[in-house]
Every structure is written in structure tokens, then in C-alpha cells.
């Protein structure tokens, strides 16, 4: 039973993390290759605070806030650079984050922070907290997608110059997407800290950023349930299959390639095509 709880908790954290990137990349069309850095900021914030004796739930808003502050900075970069350049800029952010953390004594340097105390809610209680937060954010994402904000995001993802000509304050909307997405990643980071009771600089690097991007793309960019399913599945694969763990980058890279080549709209696209075909034949 303990194993299943670990799996489900891992899934829930990954779903929250992937949906947070989906808000930025899926909804608003801003590519990020450095999303793990924001999870890292949240995770380290929570770890330092837990070590200092603060209660776990109290650390969550701080984790979200600090990640969101860094998110605003990167968001401002997104107003200046676009597409591939934004991808490279965000990639720079994650390398910078890892590089900086490695040098900081109070963050545990290379070794990281370990010996974090367990959740006061027990493993099952903590699992419910993770599932609850993932569900709340999924619901929020669905609501935003249906709202006029989602409509505007879709237009920015489509062609931001045209959005401007239609009177839309593109900068404002982009910054909101970045703040919401990155602070949520920070919250996912706090959950990560409590779950693994250890944080290290290598847990939030480029590989993790590509992994979460793979979840979004495999699920179907912008599709809330598609991304949630892909995140749930891809997050536990390395735990269930040893070879996936051994060849993580190879498996995720291969999956990413296949999806981009044959189904750029991801699982959500494949399923919606199936449904369409079924309806037209019946």
C-alpha cells in the first residue's frame, strides 16, 4: 500500500507541475525550456523553511510567491524575445538556477538539503493534499480556458501581433500567464520537498525541464485532461520500469520526437480524431 501511495503522490505532484507549464506554453503559447527552475525555487524555499521549523502548509504560499517573482522576471524577458529565443532564454534560466544553488552554502551546495521531517498529515493525508491541489488547479485551468481570458491566450498563442491590432494588451496577459504558471510550479516544488524529504540542485535541472515539456506535448498542448493523463503516466514510468529510469532522456526524447512528427497535437488530438471518426461512421 505504501508503494501505491508513493506512486499516486508522485503522479499528483507531476500533474500539478505539468499543468503549470501548460498554462504558459499550452494556453499562452510561450515556450519554456527551464520550467524546473521554478519548481526548484519553490522546493528550496519550502526546504529551508521546514528546516527552520515552520509548518509545511505555511511554506506553500512562500514557495509560490518566490517562484512567481522569478516568473515575473522571465515573463518580462518573454515580452522582448519570442519563440526559439525565448526557449533559449528560459534554458539559460534553469542553468543559472542550478549553477547558483550549487554555490550556496545555506542551500546545501552540491549535496542539497536532506533530513527534512515528514508530513504531519501522514503519508495518506499528504497524498490527499497533493491530489486536492492538482484537482483545484486542473479545475482552475479548465475555467480559464473557457473564459475570455482563455480566448485571449489562444489568440496570443496564435499570433500576438494580431492580438495587439485587436486591442489586446499582450504584455499584461503574458505576464499573468507567467506568474500563474511559475507560482504554481513553485507550489508543486513545495510538495516535492515534503514528498521526497530531500532537495538537491540536480533535481531541478534541464532534464527535468525537458521532461515536463514532454508531458505537455505528449498530452496535447493546451489540453488540460490530456496533459494531466500524460503527466500521470510519464511520471510513474521511471518508477515502474527500470529501463525507463536508466534511459530517461532517451525515452522522453524519443517520445517527444514521435509526437512532434506524427501527432503534434498530442494524446488529446489523437483522441478527438478518434471520436470524430467514430461519430462520422455511426
Amino acid at each position: 500500500m505504501a508503494y501505491e501511495i508513493t506512486l499516486i503522490t508522485t503522479m499528483a505532484i507531476s500533474i500539478l507541475f505539468a499543468l503549470s507549464l501548460n498554462f504558459i506554453t499550452g494556453f499562452c503559447g510561450q515556450i519554456s525550456l527551464g520550467h524546473a527552475a521554478f519548481m526548484g525555487v519553490g522546493a528550496y524555499t519550502s526546504a529551508v523553511m521546514l528546516k527552520a521549523g515552520f509548518p509545511f502548509l505555511f511554506t506553500i504560499p512562500f514557495a509560490g510567491t518566490f517562484a512567481g517573482l522569478l516568473g515575473i522576471l522571465v515573463g518580462f524577458a518573454s515580452l522582448r524575445v519570442r519563440h526559439d529565443f525565448l526557449a533559449i532564454t528560459t534554458m539559460g534560466v534553469v542553468f543559472l538556477f542550478v549553477g547558483l544553488v550549487r554555490q550556496q552554502e545555506f542551500l546545501g551546495g552540491e549535496i542539497g538539503i536532506s533530513g527534512i521531517r515528514g508530513s504531519p498529515f501522514g503519508r495518506i493525508g499528504f497524498m490527499y493534499i497533493c491530489l486536492g491541489l492538482a484537482a483545484v488547479f486542473a479545475m482552475f485551468s479548465l475555467a480559464v480556458k473557457r473564459s475570455w481570458m482563455g480566448y485571449v491566450f489562444a489568440s496570443i498563442a496564435d499570433n500576438e501581433d494580431i492580438s495587439r491590432v485587436l486591442g489586446i494588451d499582450v504584455s499584461k496577459y503574458k505576464l499573468i500567464a507567467f506568474v500563474v504558471g511559475t507560482s504554481t510550479a513553485g507550489i508543486a516544488g513545495a510538495l516535492y520537498t515534503q514528498h521526497f524529504r530531500f532537495v538537491g540542485p540536480d533535481s531541478f535541472g534541464f532534464v527535468e525541464s525537458v521532461t515536463v515539456l514532454a508531458m505537455v506535448i505528449v498530452g496535447g498542448i493546451g489540453s488540460v485532461w490530456g496533459v494531466a493523463v500524460a503527466a500521470a503516466f510519464l511520471s510513474v514510468m521511471p518508477l515502474l520500469f527500470q529501463f525507463v529510469n536508466d534511459f530517461k532522456i532517451l525515452v522522453y526524447g524519443g517520445l517527444l520526437f514521435c509526437m512532434m512528427r506524427w501527432a503534434p497535437d498530442g494524446l488529446a488530438g489523437i483522441v478527438s480524431r478518434w471520436i470524430k471518426r467514430l461519430r462520422s461512421t455511426s
Partner: protein, 256 residues
């Protein structure tokens, strides 16, 4: 006395050493339909971009209903009453025609992101969008995606989407370019009708036949300078305007 909608005062734009627009001035009054003509490279699109804020003028002022637009971003200028249909059609490709136009209809809901986040109702915007699409003859294909439609349709979509902003001044950048004669005539008639309904329009256009047919007044620009501004028939008969269009050498040869 009718009110002035747009005033362009001595605008100069330099790209490096090239002067694209040189001391251009233009005044548009409420309810006018002005043809904006000039040979290739006259700086027509550049001046249009100065008006919309996509290009910054080195000198001069642009005033919309008396307010200086200096320092305002494109989206703010649109909010204060400009609308633009661009020369190169740019529909939002992942959306249907209806969604393209309805988004512009929802300007009140998209102004503040938090209002946008809490607004779900799209019915009134969809109705208005369908009305506008029908007005430009696209009612039948409202649910189609732009990728499947020919250029003539997309040109009209640009016009419908610009109208959806309920502008004080509609800027049209070569709406007839790339259309065949009957399509061009139909769209020109539509533009004329919009103007008769009270919309103030500045029309950049190379199709002189249609400009002369529908525009009561023209503004001519040559090599970045304001060359002439006045009643169409009178201006288009002027020797310097003809020379600008046909080229100095041709004119000299012809006059000999």
C-alpha cells in the same frame, strides 16, 4: 462644423539614412472616405504604421480626435478608436472566422484580464460577429477555418474584424490588392457603403480605378512627402500627380 478625427502633423520617419516619410501632414474629418495613393515606395504603409504605432516617427505628431497618440502602444491606440485591416491578411489560423471577429467584438471584456477571467458569456459577441460577417458576405462560411478559404474571403474577414472594434477611424491597407476585378469592385462597394453609414475611412490603395470611383477625396504622397490633398477628380488630373505616378522620364518624353 464637422469634427476632425485624425490629424497627422509634419511626420518624418527615417530608417537609417533613408527618409521614408518626410514632413507628411494629413487631416481627416468625421465621415470622410479618403483614398491614400502614391507610387510604390512613397511611404504609404510607413505612414499608416506611424498612425497605428507600429513605427515610431522621428518628428511630428499624430492626433486622434484631438488627443496626441505619442507614447501609446498599438493596443492602446486601437482602444482609443483606431482599427486596421492589414495589407497581408493575418487571420488567427486556429480559430474560425466567427471566433476571429467575436474576439474583436469582446473588446470590453478583454480590456482587463481579470474581467476576462471572470467572463464566460460569448453569445452577444457571437451574434454581433455573425452580423458583421454577413455584412461583408461571409455569413455562410462563419464556422470555417481561415486556412481553407481563398484570399478574397480573408480580405473581407480583415475588414469585418476591424469593424468589430467599432472604430472612430478605419484604416485599410490595400484591401483590394490580389483580388480580381469583380471581387475588388464588390469590396470597394462595401467600403463605400460602410462610409455612407457614417464610418470614417482612410483607404490606402493601388487600384486607382476603384479609388477614383468610391473616394470623394484623395491624399497623394510621393517619396515620403505630401504631394496633394483634395477632391479626387481635380487632384488626379494634376500634372505633378500624374508625373509622380508615371515617372519623370516618361512624363518628360510624353510632353515633348
Amino acid at each position: 462644423m464637422t469634427t476632425t478625427v485624425l490629424e497627422v502633423r509634419d511626420v518624418t520617419v527615417r530608417f537609417g539614412g533613408v527618409v521614408a516619410v518626410n514632413q507628411a501632414s494629413l487631416t481627416i474629418k468625421q465621415g470622410e472616405l479618403i483614398g491614400f495613393v502614391g507610387p510604390n515606395g512613397a511611404g504609404k504603409t510607413t505612414l499608416m504604421r506611424v498612425i497605428t504605432g507600429m513605427v515610431k516617427a522621428n518628428e511630428g505628431q499624430v492626433l486622434l480626435t484631438g488627443n496626441d497618440l505619442a507614447g501609446m502602444a498599438v493596443n492602446q491606440r486601437i482602444r482609443s478608436g483606431l482599427a486596421l485591416a492589414q495589407q497581408i491578411v493575418q487571420p488567427l489560423r486556429a480559430m474560425t472566422l466567427l471566433e476571429n471577429v467575436a474576439l474583436a467584438c469582446g473588446a470590453a471584456k478583454t480590456d482587463n484580464p481579470f474581467t476576462a477571467m471572470l467572463s464566460y458569456e460569448r453569445q452577444s459577441e457571437n451574434n454581433r460577429a455573425l452580423e458583421l460577417l454577413s455584412q461583408v458576405g461571409l455569413g455562410e462560411v462563419a464556422d470555417q477555418e481561415p486556412a481553407k478559404l481563398p484570399l478574397g474571403y480573408l480580405k473581407r474577414l480583415e475588414v469585418a474584424r476591424a469593424m468589430a472594434l467599432s472604430p472612430k477611424l478605419l484604416l485599410l491597407d490595400e484591401p483590394l490588392a490580389g483580388l480580381n476585378q469583380s471581387e475588388a469592385k464588390a469590396l470597394a462597394d462595401l467600403i463605400k457603403n460602410l462610409n455612407l453609414d457614417g464610418l470614417t475611412i482612410l483607404l490606402i490603395e493601388h487600384n486607382l480605378r476603384e479609388v477614383m470611383r468610391i473616394c470623394p477625396k484623395v491624399y497623394v504622397q510621393d517619396q515620403g512627402r505630401s504631394l496633394a490633398f483634395g477632391p479626387t477628380a481635380e487632384i488626379m488630373a494634376r500634372a505633378d500627380v500624374v508625373q509622380a505616378y508615371l515617372g519623370g522620364e516618361y512624363f518628360d518624353a510624353a510632353s515633348q
